[in-house]
């Protein structure tokens, strides 16, 4: 399976803030790759760097085996994107918007093809309607049509379900699954809606404060064999020291808090060992769903912000 996106040690510094810090990840062909993180985690900054909207301070971005900095136009010709809300020319019709962006992508498209695209996103009957009269959901669907009109191999969607009602979210999910399964597109999608990512992504990354917290297959991360166990003790620092000296050191996760990625069935053994090490346990929690997993990672790293679900 070939690598579609390869990011190496990517960083972005904005004056005093490091929005992205030494980030590396890989998206393979055919992946629906989930990009998760709270507000300010660095998701949008990373996506903007992938789309050459922002210049990285450090690191490399390789897409389709070519460096983005030197092969920008060649790469972007094969990429379709929706960045946050799909802002389009409000004073133009849906058809005109689609036609303009298709031409800008260097694609010669017929009227039939444009109408097919509008049909696909359920806007064929509003082709002549001005975008300013559209609902948020309709704009979002038109944004998707604009991203797909030149038949890109890679689709990047930054928060595509923002502002959509439940039906809109379900439609968007079905569309993404169709694009992936029926059309073989590689999709990178960022979202706050963790349950959505859980339903559509096969691989994911979790960012926090610009850094990668975890990357892997969604199935693996949700596997009970790989539950995230978090412990609260009377003295976490001392308990962690003792765990690092024990057989549990390999599954102990980085960070100030005590988190272990392990088979849930071995928790009794862990507790027994901790008691033997003279550690007083206050609580033990296990995370299974992606949302809990995400929460446990970000909460325990010391900073939590409310996020939409």
């Amino acid at each position: 399976m070939s690598e579609i996106i390869k990011v190496n040690h990517l960083s972005k510094q904005f004056k005093d803030t490091k929005a992205v810090d030494d980030l590396s990840f890989t998206v393979n062909e055919g992946d629906v790759y989930g990009f998760l993180g709270q507000n300010g985690a660095g998701k949008s900054t990373t996506i903007r760097m992938l789309l050459s909207l922002i210049t990285p301070s450090e690191g490399d971005i390789i897409i389709f085996g070519k460096k983005l900095q030197t092969h920008r136009s060649e790469i972007l010709a094969q990429v379709g994107a929706v960045i946050e809300k799909p802002d389009l020319y409000k004073y133009l019709s849906a058809y005109d918007n689609l036609s303009i962006f298709a031409k800008m992508s260097g694609t010669k498209v017929s009227r039939e093809l444009l109408m097919q695209q509008l049909e696909m996103v359920g806007l064929a009957d509003r082709a002549k309607g001005k975008v300013e009269t559209f609902s948020q959901g309709m704009k979002q669907r038109l944004g998707i049509a604009v991203a797909l009109v030149h038949n890109p191999a890679l689709i990047i969607l930054d928060e595509p379900t923002n502002g959509l009602d439940p039906q809109g979210i379900a439609d968007m999910r079905n569309l993404i699954l169709r694009l992936s399964r029926e059309m073989g597109k590689t999709i990178l999608i960022s979202s706050h809606l963790l349950s959505e990512i859980e339903l559509i992504a096969n691989r994911m990354i979790i960012l926090h404060k610009g850094k990668k917290m975890v990357e892997g297959s969604v199935a693996e991360l949700l596997d009970p064999e790989h539950s995230l166990i978090q412990l609260e003790t009377t003295n976490d620092a001392a308990a962690k020291e003792k765990l690092l000296q024990s057989k549990w050191a390999d599954v102990l996760q980085e960070g100030n808090s005590i988190r272990l990625l392990m088979n849930k069935q071995t928790v009794p053994q862990l507790i027994s060992d901790l008691v033997g090490l003279d550690v007083s346990i206050l609580s033990v929690n296990s995370s299974h769903s992606l949302e809990n997993y995400f929460l446990s990672l970000t909460t325990l790293s010391g900073h939590v912000e409310p996020f939409a679900n």
């Binding site: 789309l51 050459s52 909207l53 990429v79 962006f101 800008m104 992508s105």
Partner: protein, 297 residues
Amino acid sequence: MWNLLQIELFKISKRPRTYIAFAAIAAIVFIFQFAFKADGQSYMNLMLQSVKDSFEFERTKAINGYFMCYIILNTLLVQLPILVALIAADSISGEANMGTLRLLITKPISRTQLILVKFAAATIFTILLLVWMAIISLFFSLLIFGADDMLIFRSKGDESQILLISQDDVMWRYLAAFAYATVALTVIAALSLFLSIFADNSIGPIIATVCIVLVCTIISNINVPIIDKNVRPFLFTSYLVGWKGFFYIATTEDGVPIKGSVENWAAIRNSLTILLLHIGVLLGASVFIFRKKDILS
């Protein structure tokens, strides 16, 4: 590139604000024409008051289409920068405001191409604005007032001068004057485009353009030797009305106008060179800054 320019012109043509400039010009020109048709003779008497004994000219023929166009140009070319700024200052900032700039940058077109296309579109808009102005201020005036020899009132230092240009020697001067005005207003377009790179809405760059034009015009008109020598020659506003040079006809020693002549070609060439330099510098700076800019809005 041509494809992108077509798209840009299509977008401009679909925006209602584009037509405000054309409507504003038409309104002002028609008011002028109406006022001069109704009571132009009073204006002419006032202008010729000081020379009534020494200058022989049939006053009823003085107000003709050529003279009207000159009066209109003299007034309107000061206001036109605002109308050009309305479109040019919206080039990048308007896209940023709508959020479409993000989408544009993710398309396989270079940022340099994008700036050049925006500049070309603003220049075409400027040309169309001047063509429209030529049609209504020159050709409509000729239809309404007829054609005759053209009177020019000129202030030269402390002196006032009246020049008379034969009617068969006027049209080429207007063509040259409109071409010159296109270059002069293209400087305004380049300035507005440059300012629009830094903003997320078009109001800021429009106001900034008008303020810069205003301040520079005031400085250009301050008659202080140190400014005359060290500042004025470098300000584009000192050359915005350089089109008048085409109507300053050279005369013989006896004061007889020489047909097809211009008093100071060198001054016109110098003005055009400085205006073109301004365009080059502003456009170059726009490309340089925009290529490095992080698109956050």
